[in-house]
């Protein structure tokens, strides 16, 4: 049995977090956190359960307290400083309908089916276990930053640093911000079927061209490691180069080399690595074609 807490303000929410610490789980849409069937993660040996043995980012099931974020006013789209800003509690169907960048709308649209997207939130997607986190991969390519509410104020961290740091749980994510992209952004998802597919790999690229040469490159991968990851080796190869089939092939090969995908029920490590190369090539190719 877990007690449900539904705070009305950020200060109330941060008090709750400070008070209950590790005994508390934050549940936004619940589409990942509630996915435990009847077991709620309490199983020992001898019970067949898909959720219990696997690694989870946070153990919602063992929490004595569950905190909802529905009344914290985190479900808005609030651009700050001319950039893009999203409340952590924004649903993916609203992101799909309202995001100003097509790549973000495309990523939102490819998460699960329509009912799932009505419930799932952008914030929840950031904390999602791999290979999921489709939206997070685009946000990573946009070099987004996260804002966490704390008892004595706010704390900000780039999304890249958050993942490099092991995606630590505990704080209350309130918003996700990024500057308006100064280049082309493309998101591609390799799945098992056309709609509502589990993720094999996802690729998001953000490329700024200057006189035919790449001035800035950000390449983000999902399903390719323990967390969504930036691919520095591939980015470095592109910077200063012309975006052409040769540089694209080199970047794709570098991405496949640098990634560290897992084998699971959706795909093998072998297949994922090849799909990273293929989808990085296709994503960059789309930008090359468009330029």
């Amino acid at each position: 049995m877990a007690e449900y807490l539904l705070p009305d303000s950020l200060s109330e929410a941060t008090e709750i977090i400070a008070e209950h610490g590790r005994a508390l789980a934050i549940v936004a849409g619940g589409t990942s956190a509630m996915r435990c069937g009847t077991c709620r993660g309490k199983h020992g040996r001898g019970i067949l359960c898909l959720e219990c043995p696997g690694p989870r980012l946070v153990s919602v099931p063992n929490a004595a307290f569950v905190m909802g974020i529905q009344r914290l006013g985190l479900d808005g789209v609030a651009p700050a400083n001319g950039g893009l800003g999203f409340g952590a509690g924004l649903s993916l169907s609203r992101l799909q309908a309202s995001a100003p960048i097509p790549a973000l709308r495309a990523a939102a649209r490819q998460v699960g089916g329509p009912a799932l997207r009505n419930m799932a939130t952008v914030g929840g997607n950031i904390f999602e276990r791999q290979p999921y986190g489709d939206v997070a991969v685009v946000l990573l390519a946009l070099d987004a930053s996260l804002t966490f509410a704390e008892r004595d104020g706010e704390r900000s961290q780039t999304l890249a640093a958050f993942y490099a740091d092991g995606a630590k749980q505990g704080g209350l994510l309130t918003r996700i911000d990024c500057a308006a992209p100064d280049g082309e952004v493309v998101f591609l998802k390799c799945g098992r079927r056309r709609f509502n597919s589990p993720t094999v790999v996802t690729v998001a690229v953000c490329i700024a061209l200057d006189g035919g040469k790449v001035r800035r490159a950000r390449i983000a991968l999902g399903g390719a490691g323990a967390h969504p990851m930036r691919c520095a080796a591939a980015e470095e190869l592109l910077i200063g180069a012309a975006l052409d089939p040769t540089s694209i092939a080199a970047a794709a090969a570098a991405a496949a080399d640098a990634c560290d995908p897992a084998t699971d029920v959706v795909a093998s490590e072998w297949y994922r690595r090849r799909m990273v190369a293929t989808y990085v090539r296709r994503a960059l190719g789309e930008i090359e074609q468009g330029s």
Binding site: G37, T38, G44, I47, L48
Partner: protein, 452 residues
Amino acid sequence: MASEAPKAEALNVVGQPVKLRDLKKHVGGQTSYCDDLRFPRMLHLKMHRSVQPHAKLLAVDTAAAARSEGVVRVLTHADLPGGELWSGLATVGGAGDEPVLASDKVRWKGEAIAAVVARTPEQAEAAAAKVKVRYEPLPAVFDVEEALAAGAPNLIAHWPGNHYIFGDDHAAAQIRLGDVEKALAEADRVVENVYQTSPIEQAPLETIGCVAVPDGDGRYTVHTGSQSLSSTLKSVAAYLGLPANRLRFVSGSVGGGFGGKADLAVEVTATLAAIKTGRPVKYRYTREEEMFASSTRAAWRVYIKDGVMNDGRIVARKVTTYHDSGAYLRMSNYGAMKHSTHWPGPYTVANVWVDVYCVFTNRTPSGAMRGFGIMPASFAIEVQMDRVAKAIGMDPWRLRLLNAYRNGDMRGHHRAVKDAAMIETIQATAKLSEQNLTGDLQSLSSWRQKAG
């Protein structure tokens, strides 16, 4: 023998659209499935299952589970009244080999060991997780041919070579027509291949389940989603030592079966629990149990050796099949029989030799699924036909039409073909897929003498 197809207009149902009777209830959400039934004081049963694929059970400690919140009863092998070995076909002549709850040994990962009956499903699951089992792991075997090899660990004493024994003491279900070895020796070419299928879970949307309800007069009503109502009733009666007239089985709408609800799965334990507690007991698989613990379509390995003439005639077909039964028999012998009689497929081959083994391995017991035994045969046969065509450089349409069976031809199991429609089906398919068949192929018919 009919020489012409009957006219569709003369028939009331064949060829006429017929509406499913329950459509109206379905679209209103009013159809009630087994999982939708509720009874006063109903209890819930959850299972503690083996985490080992093959092991001796040294101890099963249910004390902590029994003390757990909401628990009314814990059942183990000791609670069964004897005669506790069953298999799906035991009541129609097969041999029983599977305990309802494991006694001395477990033979697959997921085998039922102890059942916990509690007031809510959550309480039953939490308590079932507290059952403590001490295992002594035994060497396990996961491949059919390794299981048959000398020195393989034996699963069930009753099946010494790890295979089922068909009537007359045969290790395999056998088909013999003509002289295969002679025909193979005389053939222009021999085309040999091996085919392997994988287990498939039927995955009905409604998982397997039943509710056993004491009627208060020593009788029990069991509401179940089973596809095999009467044989399940007989099995429960046999394994619980009850006269059949103490049991009433009620079926209803089934939320998908596809063969996955043909095996005896939950009814014995649920009825036993209803007897022991005097209360209605519901036992419904979770989605995980459905995926991991219910019978799957089996994995089959099929070796084919065809003798072929350069003009396209297949003169010999020699087949050895290993059906992976998993740890217990269930309906495997029936599936193997169906498989054997399907050879040589919808083709006429004068010399046929088939051996089908039901092999026991430490994998999830397998069972029926859409076209039990037939699907793996058809898969192997049709891929083989393409390979034969390639080997002799013949168009695969021609190869199939030349060898297609016709009325009156002899099948592998010595039955004459009736009502063949293979040639006409291929001809119609060719037309729809804009494949031009030459005149000699277009003039072939299932009803006329064989051309060429």
